[in-house]
Structure formats: C-alpha cells, structure tokens
C-alpha cells in the first residue's frame, strides 16, 4: 500500500525537533489583526461616508421607496402560506440514507425500526416544536435499496412501500401527536421527567383518511386489506411478493404497536424509574380505563 499522508507526517516528525509550546503556530491567515475604529483606516466615518441618512442613522423603513408603490406591495396576494400554522411537516429521509445507515451498522435490522432508532443514529433529527410530525420516507435511492426491515414511518408514498416489500420487509405508517413525539425524540429526558407514559392520540380529521387506508399501510387499516394491497402492489410493480409467513423473521416483521402505544414494550400510564430500574403501573380502575380507551 502506498504511504499515507499521516505516515509521511509522523515519519517526518521523527527527524524534526520536539513539538513544544515554543514551535507551534496557527494556520496562516487564521489570526486576524483587529481593525480598531480609529483614524483614516477602519475609523473616521466608520464606513458611512459623508453626511446623509446613513451617517446620521436616520434610515427609512425597509422596503420603502420614497413614496411610490413599493415592490413588496405591488403584487397580488397569493395563498402560498395559507394554513401554514396548521400544516404538518414531515422532514424527509431518503431510502439511500436509510440503506447507508443500515450498511454502517447504525440501525439494527433484527428489530423493528422506529422513529426512536432513526433519531438515535444521530444522522436524522425531528423538531416537534417546529410542527414536525415525524419521518417521511422518500424514494431517492429506491433502486439500490436492498435491506429487509420492519419499519414504522409517519408518511410515505407507494414506490417506497413497493421497494421495502419487494425485499421481504414490512412498512407501516403511524401517527404520533406532538406530546408523544416529544417523548419519542428524547426518550431519556422524557423518562427522567417522571411523567407517566401518555397515550397516543388518534389522528386529526384530515389525517384519518391516510392512516386508515390500507394502500398507505396505515396503522388503523384492516390487516386483511393490507395483505390484499401487498399483492396488488407486487403485481403493479412487477415483482414476486416474498412469502412473509415462511420467513424465519416473521414474528419480528409482523410486530406492531397498539394504536395507543408509543414505545415498544411499554404501555401508556406506566412510569419508568431509571434510577431504581422499576416500572410503576396504575392500579386504580379509573386510570386503567382511561389509558385503555
């Protein structure tokens, strides 16, 4: 193998004097001499020229064009941002990036993949406070997607579903309300707060259609209809649907959360004590009923 850069550098250092406090320096140009605001260069008029509104700090409001109809008022209004404060956002995650995460052992394909696992890789982030409602799986890198996974996302399209099912995997679209998302995206912080695990809310009216549709593999859809749709999609895209019930990972691939569940293995109403390593479950029948419904 050819000598690498670091090898050359370290070999060179063997013949050079000992590196000490007296012979180290910053990269050239890193240390800039600060220009004091005094005298001719850097000072005097401080970049404001002679007289005028700029020098006298008497500015006109931004966009003002000395009385004529300003540019930002000339054009007709357009409902670009109508309802922006209500619209849900789903930051995209491409199939290429997902494949890369799997190839570099950031994601464990032997277990179901959740929003928690995707955020824990460190290569993807969700900000629930910015109206982000989860992960959207996009079709970029669809042709090279080779992994068999059980993945749960919040939004996706038909070609993506096809790509995942072609490889023998399963995909579900599930809705999480913002409170659940705060818990999901920072699990440790949430559990340390000592709050009981909340129950996941059902989707709002404009999202129910999406999540009850078997075509989207919605978590509220009929599983038998989903089976049918899997076959339909296989025929549409022209691949043989792998027999999932004969797969040794069948149990893992068909693992799903309850509609009210946020974390795998934990039910709403439970309090997880990380210090004492115990879980506290509600005993009051009223509470139990509340968390069950």
């Amino acid at each position: 193998m050819a000598s690498r850069g670091y090898e050359k550098a370290l070999t060179m250092l063997r013949t050079l004097p000992r590196v000490g406090i007296y012979n180290i320096a910053a990269n050239p140009g890193h240390v800039k001499k600060s220009k004091r605001g005094r005298a001719q260069h850097g000072g005097d008029k401080h970049g404001a020229g002679n007289k005028g509104s700029l020098a006298r700090q008497n500015y006109m409001r931004m966009g003002y064009e000395t009385g004529n109809n300003p540019y930002y008022l000339r054009f007709p209004a357009e409902p670009y941002y109508v309802g922006h404060h209500l619209r849900r956002q789903y930051p995209p995650l491409s199939l290429a990036k997902l494949q890369l995460m799997i190839d570099t052992d950031c994601l464990d394909t032997s277990k179901p993949i959740d929003l928690v696992q995707i955020c824990n890789t460190g290569y993807y982030e969700i900000k629930p406070q910015s109206k982000h409602y989860g992960v959207q799986l996009t079709d970029e890198g669809l042709d090279n997607f080779k992994a068999k996974i059980n993945i749960e996302v919040q939004w996706t399209t038909e070609p993506v579903i096809a790509a995942i099912e072609k490889n023998g995997g399963t995909i579900t679209t599930a809705f999480y309300d913002p409170h659940s998302l705060f818990a999901l995206t920072n699990v440790k912080k949430f559990l340390e707060s000592g709050e009981p695990i909340p129950k996941r809310m059902i989707p709002p009216e404009d999202a129910i259609e999406y999540y009850t549709n078997p075509k989207n593999r919605g978590y509220l859809a009929d599983p038998e209809k989903i089976s049918y749709e899997r076959l339909v999609l296989a025929q549409k895209y022209g691949y043989t649907l792998p027999k999932i019930e004969e797969d040794p990972d069948y149990k893992m691939l068909t693992e799903r959360k309850d509609p009210r569940q946020i974390f795998f293995g934990l039910e709403p109403g439970w309090i997880v004590n990380l210090v004492d390593r115990i879980i506290l479950k509600p005993t009051d029948p009223e509470l139990k009923e509340y968390y069950r419904t």
Binding site: L10, L13, R18
Partner: protein, 292 residues
C-alpha cells in the same frame, strides 16, 4: 538527541535495537519481543492487546511496555495501540487552538478604568459656551481632555471564556498523542509501583532511560501509589495526573509522556466513545453557559 544517538551505538550487539517504536505492518514483533524476554529475563510477557474496537483494515500501532520497579529499563511486553488515536495526521493548528484555549478560557481581567462619570470632578462646565474664543466644553473629564475619563476602556470584570468545540479538543489530544509516540516521547509502563520513595530513584530512572527532564505520568485513578506520590512530589519537573487531567498544554510542556497500561485502556475507550457518539449533533452547536 545527541545523547540518545551515542547511547544507541554503545548498546550490545544482541540487544533488540532495530525495534522501531511504531510500525504499520509488522508481523514478527511478538516473536522478537518474546525472544528478548526469554533471552534476558524470565518474566511473564504481555504479547498482545486485542483492540476492543479495531479498525476495518486491522492496522494498529505497537509500543513496548516497560517496567518501573528498577532503574534499568526492562521490556515487559508489547501492546497494540489504536491507530485512530495514536497514529493520526498531526494537526499543529489544532494543537495551537487547544493550547491557546487552555491559556485563555480561565482568564478574568479585573482591570477597570474610570469613565468620565466615575472620574473625580468634571461636573461643572469649565467656561461659558460663547464669547471667550475658546473651544466649547462641558466637563474637564471628557475623554478628549488630558486626565479625562476613558470612553471605551477595560471594564472589569471581563472574561475571555469560550469553549472549544468537542471535536477540536479531541483532535488536539489525538494529534499530541500521535506526535509523542512518533517522536519516541511516549512510554508505557505496567504500573507506578516503585520500590522506594526516594526522589533520586525517579531522577536516576529518567536519566538512565533518557527521558526528558520533564516527565508527565498519567495514571488511571487519582490515587497514586504512596512511594511514587512522595518521590514525585519533591520533583517540580515530574508531574502525575489522572486520565481526566490529560490535556494538550501539559503534553506540550512536558518532554516525556508516561502512561500506565490501565491509563491507555481508559484513554482509548473514552476517546473512541467521544469520537463516535450518536448524539454528536448537540456538541456541534454553540456552547451556551445558560444551558450547560
């Protein structure tokens, strides 16, 4: 440097002299080391140290493990060092950044110079506005006056505190460790148990082994063996630190760096963890003292 050369020439012929302190591809080291051991001393050998998180191409650096219980050097074994910590491209600029940060972040400037309001006097208008042919003034302590107040002077207390990003600090440590290993200034000892608490023991040891006058000892814990603590205490140019005290400035200041085996394990584990954290995003953001 010259002494080192001379001493090398005087060494007996059979001595394993051609052993470089580091190598990228060496298959015969364990045999050579064991041969040396069997030849001269019948002590148990540390033949290899399996890296917990090896690199994909399997490369590693090797270094001798020495003893400290006698003044004369005795090789006790040879271990593998992680190349991503002990053989990185040495970034002198990162080292400079670290040194500059260490020197400055603690500084608090307590100097304060009076402004025109704080100067004694200067409340009265010195002379009337018009009629005298003199320049118009409002106060004898205005900044344009001799002995007047300072307009933009130092106002105490001002800190020079800033946090260097985590990865810059890691880079500095990695670079420094690599440089120390490359320049033969890194020595690994099995422990810090010395037979006496006499400071001359350590001085003789350093003299014999050609360790630079200043030596930095890094141990795993912050409790040193008694003999060593007493001996090193009276020597100002020999410092002992626990692993969490390892820093770029100290490594630059001290000529030789001596690590214990336990310290090497700890350093590697800790640094590799920080280099490969999944939540590295939060360390890339600006450091806010209000959200520590």
């Amino acid at each position: 440097m010259f002494r080192k050369l001379v001493c090398r020439l005087i060494r007996p012929a059979g001595y394993p002299q051609a052993v470089a302190r580091f190598s990228s591809v060496q298959e015969t080291y364990p045999d050579e080391a064991s041969k040396a051991s069997q030849q001269y001393f019948n002590t148990p050998m540390i033949v290899e140290r399996k890296l917990e998180f090896p690199t994909k191409d399997g490369r590693s650096r090797r270094a001798w493990v020495e003893n400290i219980d006698s003044v004369e050097e005795r090789k006790v074994g040879m271990i593998d060092l992680h190349p991503e910590i002990f053989a990185v491209q040495p970034r002198i600029d990162m080292i400079w950044e670290n040194a500059r940060w260490q020197m400055n972040y603690r500084k608090v400037n307590l100097v304060q110079v009076n402004s025109r309001a704080e100067m004694r006097g200067g409340g009265r208008k010195p002379w009337q506005q018009k009629g005298l042919g003199k320049a118009r003034h409002g106060s004898i302590r205005s900044p344009i006056w001799y002995n007047g107040g300072s307009a933009h002077g130092p106002r105490a207390p001002t800190t020079k505190f800033y946090m260097l990003p985590m990865h810059t600090r890691l880079f500095g440590l990695k670079s420094m460790l690599s440089i120390k290993l490359a320049q033969d200034d890194l020595h690994i000892v099995n422990s810090l148990d010395i037979p006496t608490n006499d400071p001359t023991y350590l001085l003789d040891l350093a003299e014999e082994r050609l360790w630079g006058p200043s030596v930095l000892f890094i141990d795993d814990t912050d409790l040193a063996p008694e003999n060593f603590a007493v001996a090193a205490d009276s020597i100002p140019h020999m410092t002992i630190m626990p692993v969490y005290g390892l820093n770029v400035f100290s490594m630059l200041k001290h000529d030789t760096l001596v690590l214990t085996l336990a310290a090497v394990e700890r350093i590697e584990k800790q640094m590799l963890f920080f280099m490969n954290r999944a939540d590295r995003a939060k360390f890339g953001r600006k450091f806010l003292t209000s959200q520590v």
